[in-house]
Amino acid sequence: MKPTDQTLRRLFNAAAKAAPERADTPPLGLETRVLANWRAAGTDYESVSLFAFFRRAMLGAGLVLVLSAAWCLTQSGGNTSGDEAALLDYDIQMSLNP
């Protein structure tokens, strides 16, 4: 081991033996602040949950809308000529009956 390494090892050994600061009791007010934050976070969490629920509900509704529209399109795709014929018939009827 290099001399510097030996020196550093002795230094660290001594440093490690230095009595660590005891911190069993939190400073005044710290516990109160931590618990206050915890309480506030809980309230926020409930609001966020409700918001998330409504957001999911909207997304679900939107998905149903899109699927319905897609289904309607696929259904009306085969009947295009039938719709056009109905429209023409309507026009004729309207022109004959002012």
């Binding site: 390494d5 002795r10 230094l11 005891r22 939190p26 516990e31 931590v34 618990l35 915890w38």
Partner: protein, 196 residues
């Protein structure tokens, strides 16, 4: 009569059910550990109390994700250390240690430790710690953390792995490089002393 052992699992479950007494008990149980970790890895310009508060906010915010597969103390240690590391990284500027910055007692400690192979006088332990902390403050946050965990707190590589989440080869390589940098800073400091 010995104090009953703290039931972590039950307490955590009660905190998840928004039991304030359980939250208070958990805070008091974890406070010594968090405070010690923050003081060991404290960034220069940050108040320890502020950082302890930040750590506890993160603990409570993420308590739902604690699965119990590792001891709570390891999970909490990781949060505390990562919080300190982030703050250390934000500071960026690291103070350069000059011989003139040392107190008389610290200078004597360095002269003693370089004079011979004997271990230092126990009365010099505190001054040694101060010097070591000044040397460590010159390292990057992860290097400082590793040196503190391995050589000041005497933790094993496996313990460091559990606390930091780094794998063993990464720990060993980083520790090797950190020791090399530390050696260089120490040699620079001692060279300055010789120059004086």
């Amino acid at each position: 009569m010995p104090e009953p052992e703290f039931d972590v699992t039950t307490c955590v479950e009660r905190v998840r059910r928004r039991d304030e007494d359980a939250a208070r008990a958990l805070f008091r149980h974890l406070y010594p550990l968090v405070a010690r970790l923050v003081r060991s890895h404290l960034p220069r310009r940050t108040s320890p109390e502020d950082l302890v508060q930040t750590v506890f906010m993160k603990i409570f915010a993420n308590l739902d994700s604690f699965s119990g597969t590792v001891p709570l103390e390891h999970w909490v240690s990781r949060i505390a250390i990562n919080t300190c590391l982030n703050q250390l990284a934000a500071e960026r500027v690291r103070p350069e240690l000059r011989w003139a910055d040392l107190s008389e007692e610290q200078m004597q400690v360095l002269e003693s430790v370089t004079a011979g192979p004997e271990e230092l006088d126990p009365l010099q332990n505190l001054a040694s710690r101060e010097i070591v902390e000044k040397l460590l403050a010159q390292l990057a946050p992860t290097d400082r953390l590793l040196m503190t965990l391995l050589h000041l707190e005497g933790r094993s590589v496996d313990e460091v792995r559990q606390i930091t989440g780094w794998n063993v080869p990464v720990i060993k390589v980083r520790a090797f490089r950190a020791r090399r940098k530390l050696r260089k800073h120490f040699e620079t400091l001692m060279a300055e002393k010789v120059g004086n």
